[in-house]
């Protein structure tokens, strides 16, 4: 196998706030292969966006990458000079954002904004860049592209705006596109169209995509591999199929139970995960998920579990894993597990102090 396009190793991001250091991302490692679509899922606030922004070198103040490596095509982005990173930004790695309306400049014409990455990297003069912007808009299926290019963002629909954002991202034919919640701000039918577009583009241009979302359904339809994040760490990683069929981390398992599935005949109760993600200034000791975990055992309270192999190509950071929970509690009991109830594989060892 060829070396990965992107290697992230032990990434650490902290926010230096007046209340203390927010440990937003801690020890995240993953690879992205050329042409692959990788999903990153997790509740809001778990560090998905910051992970993505650190790849772009755009972690906002008062945040800083405090450790780790981000190797893109073998070169460490974190040790590069700012100008070198800027040269890669928008050319080799592009990023699109959640809310296409606020992410587009309200006072500049759409076509110009799509053309701008080409101008920024001296890929074309202005006239040719503008002409190519229209082609790009066509490529992302914007109808009447010539007219739309002359419109301002406020004159476009939400779906059109996100298509324009994607066109902008593709302007310099990057080898990697980061899409941070690209469909969250759109209504459902438009969501499906945008995801479809991303899939087609990935197939046609072989652009690798990092798709960030809190929506598992989005991941299921598009990605080959998924990373599940919780409180700034990766808790599980594997192929979409394995993760959906045999989730091993209780968080993944609970996450899957919180979305309705049409392919299941067995009745399941839909449950949301009780409790809130932890405070990242003083995260809980041991496993960061243990205060909300129904299967916790003694080590969970004190020892952070390492991310280890739980199946071929699948890794999870859990002392228990769902396999063991199944074996010891049986499928019938599991169905009634109330998240956060502390039913536990061996019963709760002791009540953690709450709140």
């Amino acid at each position: 196998m060829s070396p990965p396009l992107l290697e992230v190793r032990d990434l650490r991001i902290r926010f230096f706030t007046e209340d203390g250091e927010v440990r937003a991302v801690e020890g995240v490692s993953f690879d992205l292969q050329e042409g692959e679509i990788l999903g990153i899922v997790g509740e809001s606030g778990c560090g998905k966006s910051m992970t993505a922004l650190s790849i772009m070198g755009l972690v906002p103040e008062p945040g800083r990458v405090t450790g780790g490596e981000i190797r893109f095509k073998g070169r460490d982005l974190l040790s590069m000079a700012p100008d070198e990173v800027r040269d890669i930004r928008g050319k080799d790695i592009a990023m699109i954002f959640q809310d296409p309306l606020s992410s587009l400049n309200p006072v500049l014409k759409t076509g110009f904004q799509v053309a701008e990455p080409m101008l920024a990297h001296q890929r074309a003069d202005k006239r040719r860049a503008l002409a190519r912007a229209v082609d790009l808009l066509r490529q992302v299926r914007v109808p009447a592209a010539e007219q739309r290019a002359r419109d301002y963002p406020f004159q476009l629909s939400g779906g059109m705006r996100q298509r324009a954002m994607i066109a902008m991202g593709l302007a310099n034919a990057p080898s990697m596109l980061i899409a941070d919640e690209p469909t969250t701000a759109l209504d459902v039918t438009v969501q499906a169209q945008i995801l479809d577009l991303l899939r087609t583009l990935n197939r046609e241009t072989r652009t690798a995509i990092v798709l960030i979302t809190h929506n598992l359904a989005v991941v299921a339809g598009l990605c080959s591999r998924v990373i599940v994040m919780y409180a700034g760490q990766i808790v599980e990683e594997g192929s979409v199929f394995d993760l959906f069929e045999r989730p091993q981390h209780p968080y993944t398992w609970l996450l899957l139970r919180s979305v309705p599935r049409l392919d299941r005949t067995r009745p399941e109760r839909l449950r949301s995960i009780e409790g809130l993600p932890p405070d990242l200034i003083a995260p809980p000791p041991g496993c960061r998920f243990h205060p909300r975990c129904p299967f916790r055992i003694e080590p969970c309270f004190t020892e952070p579990p390492p991310l280890q192999e739980v199946g071929p190509g699948q890794r999870a950071a859990c002392w228990v894993t769902m396999r063991r929970a199944h074996e010891e509690m049986g499928a019938a009991t599991l169905l009634d597990v109330r998240p956060g109830a502390g039913s536990g594989v061996h019963g709760p060892i002791r009540e953690p102090h709450r709140g």
């Binding site: 755009l58 954002f97 606020s102 400049n105 006072v107 701008e116 920024a120």
Partner: protein, 318 residues
């Protein structure tokens, strides 16, 4: 298609200006004729001579008759003649003076916006550095200082301390009409006029800039790999301008009223100087003429400001 709406809008606004000017001059006309005393009180005339003079100028007629004649004249752009400088026609006089005031005011506005925006932007992108603190405190001093203080101070510096270098720079000849070529003649008064407002603009620009650089589209601009200067100039500045433009209207009025003080301090023969003079002289027609010109200037300046909006913010259309 796009321009038709704009032209229609301009037409409506011009009509509105005409009505405003008519209303203002009517109110002033009636008000000033109702004041006790008359133009000629200071001339210590016998009652019969006074009567003769009043009769000669038609001032002994009923007020409504005078008002009717005034309106008829105004509709033809004729504001009558001066009573004090006997026989001088007022329309060309105040027209010329309005041009002088407009020129000084425009330069003051340029100072206000240029200086204000520059300092505001620099303070914002260097937030919480000594540069920011310096500019911010200068701005506080700037707008807590009335323009006549600034003017007096500048006079002291340029006309007294630097007399050798400046020579007669601050001296305006009688009949000076403001030659568009000699910026030197008006730049110091214009600065005094604009400086307090520049401070207001600087503070507003700084705040608006700080707001804008936190926006998502600035992150997008950076994600494209644009150099930081382009991010600021192309993406941030134009958006930061939008709230600044909304205060231009009040600013223009402030500058025009401020010009009354400034023109008198520097002896600039504009509307402001004439304004004070004509009231002291009870030169009715000139007072009315000055007010008429001020009303027109304010109206036109505000129209120009409003026409700027859609140029800066495409979401606004007329």
């Amino acid at each position: 298609m796009r321009w038709r709406g704009t032209l229609l809008y301009i037409g409506q606004r011009l009509l509105l200006i005409v009505f405003t000017v008519l209303a203002v001059s009517s109110i002033v006309f009636i008000g000033i004729h109702r004041l006790p005393g008359s133009v000629f009180v200071s001339e210590r005339l016998r009652a019969s001579q006074m009567q003769a003079l009043l009769h000669q100028y038609g001032l002994d007629r009923p007020l409504w008759e005078q008002y009717r004649d005034f309106l008829l004249g105004l509709l033809h752009g004729d504001l009558g003649i001066s009573y004090v400088n006997q026989g001088v026609r007022i329309s060309p006089l105040v027209g010329r003076e309005a041009l002088v005031s407009a020129e000084v005011g425009a330069l003051a506005l340029l100072f206000t916006i240029g200086l204000g925006m520059l300092l505001g932007v620099l303070a914002a992108i260097r937030q919480n550095t000594w540069l920011d603190y310096l500019f911010t405190s200068t701005a506080v001093v700037g707008y807590s200082m009335p323009n006549f203080v600034v003017a007096t101070f500048l006079l002291l510096v340029f006309a007294v301390f630097l007399q050798r270098a400046t020579g007669g720079m601050l001296y305006y000849q009688i009949g000076w009409t403001g030659t568009f070529g000699s910026l030197g003649e008006i730049s110091i008064p214009a600065f005094a006029l604009g400086f307090p407002y520049a401070s207001v603009v600087a503070r507003l620009t700084r705040a608006s800039m700080l707001e804008v650089i936190r926006q998502d589209y600035i992150r997008t601009a950076r994600a494209k790999g644009l150099p930081e200067q382009l991010v600021i100039v192309r993406h941030a500045l134009r958006n930061a301008l939008i709230p600044v433009i909304t205060i231009l209207g009040p600013l223009v009025i402030g500058i025009l009223t401020g010009s009354v003080v400034i023109e008198n301090i520097f002896g600039i023969p504009g509307l402001g100087k004439e304004f004070v003079q004509s009231i002291l002289n009870r030169d009715y027609n000139i007072v009315v003429g000055v007010f008429t010109m001020y009303a027109a200037l304010v109206g036109i300046a505000n129209l120009l400001v409003d026409l700027l909006y859609p140029l800066v913010d495409p979401r606004i259309r007329y």
